[in-house]
């Protein structure tokens, strides 16, 4: 079902639109060719057919402000577009909107070694920031499989999480300050990069995870941190789903982990079938945990061994491997990180859900039971950032089922899954945002009163509903 409510209420002709945008950014920074419209009109979801009316590439915050003012005056809907790796159709323009792409705002500047901060244009690629940090003997810890394409502006607007959240938190924790253009075209400099600034409402937090519905992020000062030492990876074979969390708390009882991920054997077999990553074990178990930690001294390594032995004694873990080099660490990570990309071949139906860590086992059991009962013919792939209580449920499309029918049947799964999410007081979107795909389910996590306040906030910053309309909430 394709249902969007972005508007293109403008009375401007296409020519006039292009002309006026060109007047702001220059003719070479406005594109209307079919290729660009197709590419910049959609994100990773690829469910909604893209139909933007133009793509505009601003180079400065002032140009962004001018575009927003123009859009208000002419009633043109705008969709901000980052690396378009979003998984909730947040950066989709399916209703004749103008896409504002930040690709040319990709400068890194003002590195400050004392503050350990650096300024990024919204279009800086996540990996570009990671590399920059590395070159300055520092570390930008937010990381995930799409970091080579996603942008800092997109990361902030989705409050991206990823594989290191258990130790370093979400994108939110790394934004020292930011420049945004509000839905009225006002430029706000938020927080002045301060560590401490208790001067009332912290408006950064509204734009972080705001999915471009209140304003556009044009620049951000990002924090960097010490480079972790000798990150070492364990992969453990765990026969029972219930025991995964016991392993987590056992390791956490004496160690600070930098990652705790899990994946099912079905997920791993798909990755191994590609033939370019070595198998960790000769015999498989139903589930695996990937644990990463800093092995600075021998004592750290000994701790890991002690905890591993304890988990073996308890029977939670039956086998384990450990990286002896960075190459091996990288290869073990690929078992987890390559899952998303590998299964995309089966047009998976995805859910990104979370509960508090202690509730993960019963929550998983409930969901697994319902999905296997109702859909014995579907292949279910589990993986996720389980150390954060975050699970990715993926249902693979059987070859003989048409895409439409598959998604329709999965739609019913969603309702059941989200009822369980609600029962466990969890989130219908742990880190991928709401966009269009999760909008109908927002009420399973947010109360009616909360959603009403969200609408009210939207009205304050974007009174004319110009900014990414139809995403997250309906105005």
């Amino acid at each position: 079902m394709i249902q969007t409510s972005g508007n293109s209420m403008t009375t401007l002709t296409q020519d006039a639109l292009v002309e006026q945008l060109s007047a702001i950014v220059g003719a070479d920074k406005v594109r209307t060719d079919a290729d660009s419209l197709e590419t910049f009109g959609k994100d990773w979801t690829k469910i909604y057919p893209p139909k933007p009316s133009a793509i505009v590439f601003p180079k400065t915050t002032q140009q962004v402000a001018d575009i927003v003012k123009f859009a208000n005056a002419q009633n043109v809907a705008l969709v901000p577009s980052g690396g378009r790796t979003g998984l909730s159709a947040g950066a989709v323009a399916a209703n004749g909107e103008v896409v504002v792409a930040f690709d040319y705002m990709n400068q890194i500047s003002d590195f400050n070694a004392t503050d350990r901060t650096v300024k990024c244009g919204a279009g800086v690629i996540t990996e570009q920031l990671q590399t920059f940090a590395e070159e300055h003997d520092l570390f930008y810890p937010v990381d995930f499989a799409s970091a080579g394409s996603s942008q800092i502006g997109g990361n902030i607007s989705t409050n991206a999480g990823g594989i290191k959240v258990i130790r370093w938190g979400m994108t939110r924790d790394w934004v020292a300050g930011m420049t945004v253009v509000t839905g009225e075209g006002e430029i706000l400099e938020l927080n002045k990069d301060l560590m401490k600034n208790n001067t009332g409402y912290d408006m950064r937090q509204l734009f972080i995870g705001g999915e471009g519905t209140l304003g556009f992020v044009t620049e951000a000062t990002m924090r960097l941190t010490r480079t972790p030492k000798n990150l070492t990876v364990l992969v453990l074979g765990i026969p029972e789903l219930d025991d995964v969390m016991k392993v987590l708390s056992q390791f956490q009882s004496t160690m600070d982990l930098t990652a705790f991920e899990f994946f099912s054997d079905k997920a791993m077999q798909k990755v191994l079938a590609r033939g370019d990553v070595p198998a960790p074990f000769e015999t498989s178990t139903d589930f695996y945990a990937l644990i990463e930690f800093e092995a600075v001294t021998d004592a750290d390594m000994d701790q890991a061994m002690v905890q591993f032995e304890k988990c073996m004694e308890e029977g939670w873990v039956v086998d384990g491997v450990i990286s002896q080099s960075e190459t091996q660490a990288a290869n073990l990570w690929r078992l987890r990180e390559d899952i998303s990309e590998t299964i995309s071949e089966w047009t998976p139906y995805k859910n990104d859900i979370s509960v508090v860590v202690s509730k993960v086992p019963p929550f998983l059991r409930d969901i697994d039971e319902i999905v296997t009962r109702e859909y014995p013919d579907f292949e279910i792939i589990w993986f996720g950032h389980i150390g954060d209580g975050n699970l990715h449920l993926n249902i693979l499309k059987p070859d003989d089922l048409a895409k439409e029918e598959f998604f329709e049947r999965c739609g019913k799964v969603s309702t059941w899954v989200f009822e369980i999410v609600e029962k466990y007081q969890g989130s219908v979107s742990a880190e991928h945002g709401v966009g269009m795909t999760k909008k109908p389910y927002l009420e399973y996590t947010r109360s009616a009163a909360e959603i009403a306040y969200m609408r009210a906030v939207k009205k304050v910053f974007d009174p004319n509903n110009i900014m990414n309309p139809g995403k997250l909430i309906d105005a």
Partner: protein, 249 residues
């Protein structure tokens, strides 16, 4: 039969190597070290020979600083039976290493010496050959397949444009190439077992070898940085650039 495997502690293959500011050497401070990848392949091959019932004991030897014990422990975890560290802080050249290994070969009398065709730090590709010359043992270098057949070993070698199989009389030296096998991960239970396996330390002096460098390192420079790519606006410009700038058409 007894198999001797030589392993070296080198800068991790995945590390982006940096050169010291004064160009005197590669910067090794806080850099992750690991077993040379070709040595990993040698260990794996030895373990497979043992699993097939051909090898009865695997002795692993490393020459280097005390911390090189880590790489020996890794080899023990992968399936080697006993380790020998020849401890030295000196910079090592292939001839010195070959002389030291000869000392170990004389003591241990292995039927096969397995080693990497080269190490990724100095890329010499000499040690196996020199050891062959010093001991008079036959050598099968760049191995992509090793098949023991009675008192012979058939070694398939990767050579320019193809493969060449040589039959060597045992005892023999085999140096490994990349395609010989895919090394396994060290399992945690085996790492724990490896802690109890014997690891002896000896010195070059014990083996009667003087470690003295005959080379002096003049200068280390990083490779030239690649210039950034450009975007072209049409196929015609692309063809023109390929013809006139890149000169590849």
């Amino acid at each position: 039969m007894k198999v001797l495997v030589a392993v070296k502690r080198v800068i991790d293959y995945n590390v982006k190597v940096r050169v010291k500011a004064d160009n005197s050497d590669v910067d090794l401070t806080n850099v992750k070290m690991a077993m040379n990848p070709f040595c990993e392949i040698a260990v794996e091959e030895a373990v497979r020979l043992k699993e097939k019932g051909i090898a009865s004991e695997i002795v692993v030897v490393s020459i280097g600083p005390k911390v090189a014990q880590e790489q020996i422990r890794t080899a023990l975890a992968l399936g080697a039976d006993r380790g020998i560290l020849i401890e030295t802080e000196e910079k090592l050249e292939p001839l010195t290493v070959a002389k030291l290994l000869k000392g170990v070969v004389e003591k241990e009398q292995p039927q096969i010496v397995l080693m990497g065709k080269q190490t990724i730090d100095s890329d010499n590709n000499q040690t196996g050959q020199m050891l062959g010359a010093l001991t008079g043992m036959p050598q099968g270098t760049f191995a992509s397949e090793v098949a023991v057949d009675g008192d012979k070993v058939n070694v398939t070698r990767e050579i320019d444009g193809g493969l060449r199989t040589v039959a060597l009389n045992l005892p023999a030296i085999v140096t490994t190439d990349l395609r010989l096998n895919e090394p396994r991960y060290a399992s945690l239970p085996n790492i724990m077992k490896a802690k109890r396996k014997p690891l002896d330390t000896t010195t070059p002096a014990d083996l009667g070898v003087e470690v003295k460098s005959t080379l002096s390192l003049v200068k280390v420079t990083p490779p030239a940085e690649r210039s950034a790519g450009i975007k072209v606006d049409s196929v015609a410009t692309l063809v023109d650039k390929l013809k006139n700038d890149a000169k590849v058409l």
